[in-house]
Symmetry: C2
Subunit: 266 residues, 2 copies
Amino acid sequence: MNPEQSRATVIKIGGNIINDESALSEVLSHFADLKGPKVLIHGGGKLATELAERLEIPQTMIEGRRVTDESTLRIAVMVYAGLINKSIVAGLQSKGVNAAGISGADFDLIRAKRRSPEPIDYGFVGDVTEVKKDTLIQLLESGYTPVFAPLTHDGEGQILNTNADTIAHEVAKALSQHFQVTLIYSFEKEGVLLNVNDNSTLLPQITLEEFLNLKASSKIFAGMIPKLENAFKAIQSGVHQVILGKAQSLPSLLNGSKGTRLIYDK
Amino acid sequence: MNPEQSRATVIKIGGNIINDESALSEVLSHFADLKGPKVLIHGGGKLATELAERLEIPQTMIEGRRVTDESTLRIAVMVYAGLINKSIVAGLQSKGVNAAGISGADFDLIRAKRRSPEPIDYGFVGDVTEVKKDTLIQLLESGYTPVFAPLTHDGEGQILNTNADTIAHEVAKALSQHFQVTLIYSFEKEGVLLNVNDNSTLLPQITLEEFLNLKASSKIFAGMIPKLENAFKAIQSGVHQVILGKAQSLPSLLNGSKGTRLIYDK
């Protein structure tokens, strides 16, 4: 960490917040108040599933994960890069943030490789191979705020569906070469809870060792595991701090009074 | 016209080309070959209508024009800013063009005012009030190629549906303060035809007076009238040249061997 580096904030918002207009607007207001270069990454919420149902496009799940066939990819592109992304961008513009929606193909910002069909073919799903950090830094330093939809491209014309938590980690990692980056994973919960229904079981901080122990003893909510894995990858790759918590508590997450902070001893 | 100005090209593609994958790819290859700063504007094709039908969202037409109610706007945003825009952006990236999709809200590039509900309420339809030319020029001079979906925003969080021919004219006009701009309106036909079914009736050029006479005597295809009105507005507001013709003939439209060229005596 170089104390001379300027700071940047990378915020992932996901879960039901995306579908809740007034909660989303509150979160965008907190985001608008943040000083300095910042990036927003949004998930897909439930809108894509709802649209697939209305269009009667059957969704195939393998081991609890959705397969992105061609019809499902079209829906993902429409909902993520269209509906959700433009709603957030227009909302941020109304709050004085000069936001720009990014699909990964835009400005060639995130390249990915289609995941191997072996052992399981998840369809048009991409694993990130490169974040074009120079372009991203240029946008940030020109005063723009990128808003990423959870999509990437392969450079050969194919858009790919990519996990938003992964995009957040990869973007934060890329920016850490230039900025002192704080990465926030926000969702419906107060942070990492030992009992998902009991806020008093919140862990204010968590080390990698604690996480691995909790994971091994199944004492952690299954849905949190991939999120924490991305979060630890981020902090291991040079991100200054990583905090998990409730989207509406953004200012408290940043000042350390709420949420779960990752502890990583280098 | 300042002979020292560098050139820029603004291309509107519309009509069935949007729905025809191989024809679209051919047009994008021609577009990729163009030298210098360039902008692409795409229409919506028939995909939005098809999606509205599949979702059983009734479409209201008044005097032959579609009313953009809230459900129809959501479809427009999904199809225009999502499906079509990202397909074109990813396609251009695969051809070596560093394209960036723009909805009008992105980078605050195009502001619009919702059209008055009197005498006819067309719903969420916007009339352009401002193109942020400095931002657009900055993007072009940084080597990026903006790809505009036919959408704008009002600065207060509302996305608005806006005619793609109008966006093309407004973008070309704004850029004309800095570049010597060639604006191409491309579609299925060879250009302005006296008989839409007979290519031998192509007008290689058309003056404003000729257009007004043809319009008055109903000798011109009704669908061409708003396009030509936008085209003449563009040339009257300083666009260097305006050419109408078939999208697949882009190189011939630019070298003057095909299409219809507007003649405007200042």
